[in-house]
Symmetry: C2
Subunit: 403 residues, 2 copies
């Protein structure tokens, strides 16, 4: 018996257009070099090097031992939704009832759920360029229209009210922002965020705030838009237990939605994923308790020291990044003095120095070939060593003449 068709069968048009993560090429190459015995410093990976906390493990173990391995309700364990509501009250002074919380299997899933709930084909979604890659791709999958706003160091790579007004057009249904942002590590000041939420409300549009890196903020307290905009029915928040809470592999995120949207999200969730992982939800209950949060504060301080060490080493190497990131664990570095092809730059540096970086092209088009993302998810000594290697390699290069 033979296959009736020697040709592959058709693939959907949109699926063919979905972009791969360019960093995967770097990661693959880095692993090949490692396998050959080369010393590789991974600054390309957007994941804390810390494992999850023992408290989380204990909670998951208790859940297993007591047979809590079945489906949870689609919106999540009621006690976890209540714990999140308490967390917003205690940490951010935000009054958000448990009924507005929905647990999701990772925040990618939460983002997909929200955009699926909101977007008709051709609806417009406004976001910055650069931005996290998925944001664009979900709009593409839902046949929406992307309105990209190029941003530079002048606004700390963030959307502002003047930019939002300048790029406004009819048909925009959702404005997406992230604070702190991946890939830039910058935040949006609270007043600016509130002003954008209110502007969107006036226009009948949603403001979707990615707070996935919430908690990983330096030199200032962490914030949530919900502290001041919890009453606005157009404000949507996605968050995650992956980054600040160091639970990446547990695949658990959450949504804070206006009350009127929750029944739609629940019906969609029943179909799209049924429920978020059960053990992860029990683990999350433990990670929201004071002892775990105290340990996470220690880790936050570690990330802050790494940021400071990286920034100082970059300055001393003469690279002088034009701005200091406020949070997350990324530095978005303008490499236009050295290259106008970030992908080639990353590959060459990987081979010359063993330092793996992410090309800006993963995050958009605007000056993407002139930027790379550095993740400071390794210890300070390694960060210093990485910058020293970069310095030696780049010293040999003829600087590009910039206009």
């Amino acid at each position: 018996m033979k296959s009736f068709s020697p040709e592959p069968y058709p693939i959907a048009d949109t699926a063919q257009q979905i972009q791969p993560f360019h960093v995967m090429k770097i990661l693959g190459e880095a692993k090949t070099l490692e396998a050959q015995g080369h010393d590789i410093i991974h600054m390309e990976i957007g994941e804390p090097d810390f494992s999850s906390l023992p408290q989380v493990h204990k909670a998951a173990q208790d859940a297993m031992e007591t047979g809590q391995t079945h489906y949870t309700p689609t919106l999540g364990l009621p006690e976890l939704r209540a714990a999140l509501s308490n967390f917003y009250r205690g940490f951010y002074g935000a009054e958000v009832p448990a009924e507005r919380m929905m647990l999701t299997p990772g925040s990618s899933s939460g983002l997909q759920l929200l955009l699926t709930a909101l977007l008709n084909p051709k609806d417009k979604v406004l976001m910055t360029d650069p931005t996290y890659p998925c944001n664009r791709e979900f709009v593409r999958l839902l046949k929406g229209q992307l309105i990209s706003v190029p941003v530079t160091e002048s606004t700390r790579y963030q959307l502002t009210l003047p930019l939002l007004k300048a790029h406004w057009q009819d048909g925009i249904k959702v404005v997406m922002v992230a604070s702190p942002s991946n890939p830039t590590g910058t935040i949006i000041e609270a007043d600016e965020l509130v002003a954008m939420a209110e502007f969107a409300a006036q226009k009948g549009a949603y403001l979707l705030v990615d707070e996935i890196y919430q908690g990983l903020v330096y030199d200032r307290p962490a914030e949530s838009i919900l502290s001041r905009c919890a009453h606005l029915d157009n404000v949507l928040v996605i968050n995650s237990f992956s980054k600040f809470f160091c639970m990446t592999g547990w695949r658990l995120g959450w949504i804070v939605a206006p009350t009127f949207l929750v029944p739609t999200l629940e019906r969609l969730g029943q179909n799209l994923f049924l429920s978020a992982p059960t053990l992860s939800q029990y683990g999350a209950l433990a990670v929201l308790k004071p002892d775990a949060l105290a340990e996470l504060e220690q880790r936050r301080q570690t990330f802050q020291k790494r940021r400071d060490t990286l920034m100082q080493a970059m300055q001393e190497a003469g690279f002088a990044p034009r701005l200091c990131p406020d949070g997350a664990f990324y530095l978005y570095w303008d490499i236009s003095a050295f290259s106008d092809n970030a992908e080639a730059f990353c590959l060459e540096l990987l081979h010359e120095t063993g330092v793996a970086l992410t090309p800006g092209t993963d995050f958009g088009h605007y000056r993407a070939q002139q930027h790379v993302r550095l993740a400071y998810t390794t210890d300070e000594e390694t960060l210093r060593r990485a910058v020293e290697k970069l310095k030696r390699a780049l010293r040999k290069r003829a600087p590009l003449s910039n206009t």
Copy 2:
């Protein structure tokens, strides 16, 4: 500061059309009655009553203790993909390389991923009525066209080659079948399945086989379409660790795809979910080992005894179901002798007897009000007690006159 819009903001048209699971109304009502102290027998829940195995818990614990709590590759842990390949060889005599395996966060996610990879708007998807609710809803979300084939006891509620030919039309891109099926518990004979796969191949269409209840088969060995059709590039399989492997809350499923489709699935997976839960993947490695599989065989035998007990009790009560399910843990019961409104029937019986059932309307339209689904996910004694309660309640009813 007040909300600028007193009205809720717009929700997407398709999202508004997504149907809720009607069983949720029954479940909610059952929980209310339970809270009031009533004795409720849950035959509405599509989930094994067994918790996951101690071997799985041990593996998850080892993974936690060794810091394996980070992201895995999007396609899944290489060793788990290899273990699945071995599993197909050992159990089903199917040669399917590890490269064709992709782990997904639950099989709902796998189904979504596959249909997203394949369907352009207006592409047609053929499936039976009744079918699992998500199947229809994913087609709706992707703006595809649903071709529903009504099926009856005469084909054991399954698609057949003659039915497929009779309902064939241009533009069908995917044919979906499930064996064993939810909600009917019936299987498709291997020859029929192969014939349908070949017919679809001739037409340039995919055959997507839901093997989520694979392993839970009685009176005969479990089968996979991959034993005979692994070489066909149009055959897609979704499977799950939820049912036979009793790992519902772990949210882990898998896809077996033709090689040419894997890169597209990987790119989509990077965006849609990044990776499946890590601990669940380590747990799954343990559940595929001989000692765990031996325990699961014991559980399978328990389900078989429950099916036999339920069928016998139904016969003795005079209900005489017209066919005996081959697998899964469901009986799709024709209640037309008692009611032509399954939803009212389920609600009334719940209040009269405390037995919770799922109305056929969750699974389609064709004679859906004349069917209910019974899940035998409780012990034999409870099943006998449930049927006795149903018998007493239905004896009081005037039978409907059937044409």
